[in-house]
């Protein structure tokens, strides 16, 4: 349905043209990042809740030149970082901030990151987002792949700046706001992936969807892996906060995680010396593969849900980094094609899928703020419905035992 220029009045005639009301290029080869503000009004969009999209460029330190796009739905301010793989820095609704507090305080421009640094842990010098894309050639811990090549932590995606960023607003209700960013993960002889990322939301929403399409543009089938490192600190995370999902199998990532296996769905408060425990989860989906993971606070009246599909993202890592506040008190809910072992350990687990020439894979996750007991309860009910009484296997031993390098 086209927006009627007449209905919108004379002032909206220009805005009613598809070029303005639909695609608004924020960045591309010929368009430099610029500080700007776009509003539902300036776009001529008649949504019940006005919304605003703001772009800005950061300066100083390792964040020199970093572009941010903030989508204010009217109820939630979602900040996306085109310069860092279209990662989602944070989403703030009132006094609730989805995100966490990393020791990394800047939004780091990949031009200052050496992924090979720290023996392949250089990625940690930029890690501080709510949603960090991991992939798409590989994910997982650094180490030498079978052929001897050093794979750096969690792949390149989070450190690839988006080539083209477009704001696109649907012309009909609910006037979905789409922020699209194109990532190119390309190396002669090695890989020719493009990832068409999209973050969408609607005016007035306290939820958003990440919808990515990975395409192998090459002529050969290639291995790929994806993992959406979705990270939450306080106020959702706290002592006795809980995780829920329909679980087919859970196992400790390593020997250290065995210790808390009995209570793997409950969180500790900030705990000195805890470091992290990780649990490898295979969730159940419903008949269509749809599933839901929920994190909520101790009182059960504040939480977040991640809705995704196990046919797209069958492996789910629960990363419990309940160390001290300043060390980064955080949990990661990480739907993926794979777990966080180095790629070489995941082939035997059948968690290194391939993508054929010209084929695409889609990954979709909807993040929803649960800001009342009713909403948390409804989400937990949905988890139970998907579980549908099916058995949860608790595997006592890790799926893989990496050797020291």
């Amino acid at each position: 349905m086209k927006i009627s220029a007449i209905a919108l009045g004379a002032g909206a005639m220009l805005a009613a043209s598809p070029a303005l009301a639909r695609d608004h290029v924020l960045l591309d080869a010929g368009k430099a990042p610029a500080n700007q503000t776009i509003t539902s009004k300036s776009l001529g969009v008649k949504s019940a809740t006005p919304f605003t999209v703001t772009t800005k460029t950061l300066h100083g330190g390792r964040q020199e030149g970093v572009m941010l796009v903030e989508i204010d739905t009217g109820a939630m301010k979602i900040t996306v970082v085109p310069t860092r793989g279209m990662n989602v820095l944070q989403a703030v609704a009132g006094d609730v901030r989805l995100g966490w507090h990393s020791p990394v305080k800047e939004v780091v421009n990949p031009s200052f990151i050496e992924l090979t640094g720290r023996n392949g842990l250089g990625w940690l010098e930029g890690f501080n987002e709510l949603v960090t894309r991991c992939g798409y050639e590989w994910v997982g811990h650094p180490g030498k792949d079978t052929d001897g090549t050093l794979l750096t932590l969690h792949g390149l995606a989070a450190n690839i700046p988006a080539s083209k960023v477009v704001l696109s607003v649907d012309e009909k209700p609910p006037y979905t706001i789409r922020l699209k960013g194109l990532l190119r993960e390309q190396a002669f002889k090695k890989v020719d992936y493009v990832i068409e990322t999209e973050l969408n939301t609607v005016p007035g929403a306290t939820a958003f969807t990440v919808h990515d399409k990975l395409t192998n543009q090459g002529d050969y089938p290639k291995e790929y892996q994806a993992l959406y490192h979705s990270n939450f600190g306080a106020p959702l995370l706290e002592k006795d906060a809980k995780f829920a999902a329909p679980v087919r199998e859970v196992s400790p990532f390593n020997d250290y995680a065995k210790q808390d296996l009995a209570t793997w769905q409950t969180y500790r408060g900030p705990t000195s010396g805890y470091d992290e425990t990780v649990y490898n989860v295979f969730p159940y989906g419903d008949a269509d593969g749809n599933t839901l993971a929920v994190l909520h606070n101790a009182a059960g009246q504040l939480g977040v849900s991640l809705a995704f599909n196990v046919n797209q993202l069958p492996a789910f890592s629960l990363w419990k980094n309940t160390d001290t506040e300043k060390q980064g008190y955080v949990t990661g809910l990480e739907p993926g094609t794979s777990f966080s072992y180095n790629r070489k350990y995941q082939r035997d687990l059948k968690l290194v899928p391939t993508i054929g020439p010209k084929e695409s894979r889609e990954f979709q996750i909807t993040y929803t703020l649960l800001d009342s007991k009713a909403k948390v309860d409804a989400a937990l009910k949905r988890v139970e419905t998907i579980q549908d009484g099916r058995k949860t296997t608790v595997r006592e031993t890790p799926l893989a035992v990496p050797k020291p390098e």
Copy 2:
């Protein structure tokens, strides 16, 4: 000969000053890259064919901040990338494009490249040019040098941004257009090279010359290597396209290349699973060392020639990457001081020359489009004249056999 202000008319009086008609600084310490257009008219140059030089800066993705300079001779548009070692991205004459289609679609800013990545193959994340400078400390495959230092693929030059870029147009016919760029390859204790690069052409030409001067500014003799990775895809490259040069010796780069040794001068069409074969060639030169390498299509009416001097560039690699289109169907004609083995394997071959303190070495290659059967035939005739009936040695075994690392 000074251009006469009177002859050019009043409007050209300003242009007739040396500052405008001769050196036009496009980039230096005090001058930021800027989008601009310079024409023969604006320079007051009275060439029969008008020409245009355009600079622009790319944005988005890994090409953020990359500067391009396009010289449109009136007959060919030659694009140079100051940010990437003054490499030549492409040269387009009518519907013929000299260059190739790499999976790497962006013109990648070296600030986003980790050469040490992918075990020293990080260079491949930016490789997509018509002419890519390799050198000057080393060229060749990645691997540990004799002293244990990891040498990354093909050296640093292609990922060194030019410090100063000057457009200089000769004041007298043929009004040669010179684009000069200074590269600094410098590291305390290690190297103090400056490379004064020049790409020159003339109004109306479908040819250009790369003319570089490497100077060792240091007080010690140093090893150096140079290789001009000159890359061509369709329409020159196709099934039954041919390579010709006056050849003193040819040998397969490795065991894999032995298979096609009998037909090393003929190309396959795009071939799935082919990867690449490489042939190490020592060309003959004429009495002055001048030689010519020719690539032409199957019909022999479209081609390119590279004129260079074997005293400057004695080793020539023929890189036949006739894999599929999307994998990068391309051949490299690569005049060099050296072949593409890791430096440690080339010392015994006497292909790691040294350059004394304050000494310079010049490298000059003229690239000429051959856009008719007559031009191709003339070039092949020239090859034959240089060969002059001298014997070609076909060596069956590779010159070096690198060990796996």
Copy 3:
């Protein structure tokens, strides 16, 4: 004492406001680097000697985007590089330049440096300053730490761009000029250091003080190391130039340095093939730990002194790189917490201190130009006073003997 607007006259009323007369933000997240000139007059500062602070951004080559701040005290022009860890590039007083001539001619933007390159010697591609910060996680030669992690040469600090740069001028005499820059050395799980750097000087001075405060923002104690690589070439350094300090113990850094141990305080002229000798010095301090290191020319009428405190910086490296001019004829006077061995060799020497959670460490060095025989003599006298007849131990063997990797 507030500057009186009345005393300064109407024109100074604005300048008398704290915002202008005190803190002047030159760079932060919301403020891009810009070319500007700030003068004592524009600030409304009534210093006897007018001063000027100039900022500019460099372009081209590997220095694209580098910010410089030059403080001209009226008697000395001090150039600071915010983009490179607030390093001091040079200090020029009349025809005397404190600094040196490295083969590295550009002021290199860290975005173009791979510290892991050249087996961890990538740092050398940017090294050319008068004062280069080394640290703060580690200093020293590259190599694998005890846990196998490659530590690159001299740590990250010199290649961390300052996040926030503020010019602050005291409102009362001597109207101290302070250039403050915040460095963030942060990596999730690894380190959470902030370094509040300050360079201060006064109008008319030919001296400046570097005053840094390192804070461990994390919740765990961490190892740290600091070393202020302070480098001088001609005209201070020349044949028979001398070094003086109150010395408790001196030893050769390695076997090679044994050769010149007898004359370790005297310099050679430029010497082909010399490379470098390094001496590890433990200076004496006075009752408060204050000490002084002096470098002066052969005639003893031109020199520099470094005043620091051995409680902050107990280990002092004397780096004698008296190789040829073009190789970089230079000596480093390097007060530090540590010497230049890889960190793993310094733990046994008790030269890898730790810093507790929320703790800070301060490092302060005053660099003073000695531009007369009287000033040199006074400095030498001060050295003698601190030595106070105490014994100097000359240790013949190196403190550590690193193994080849």
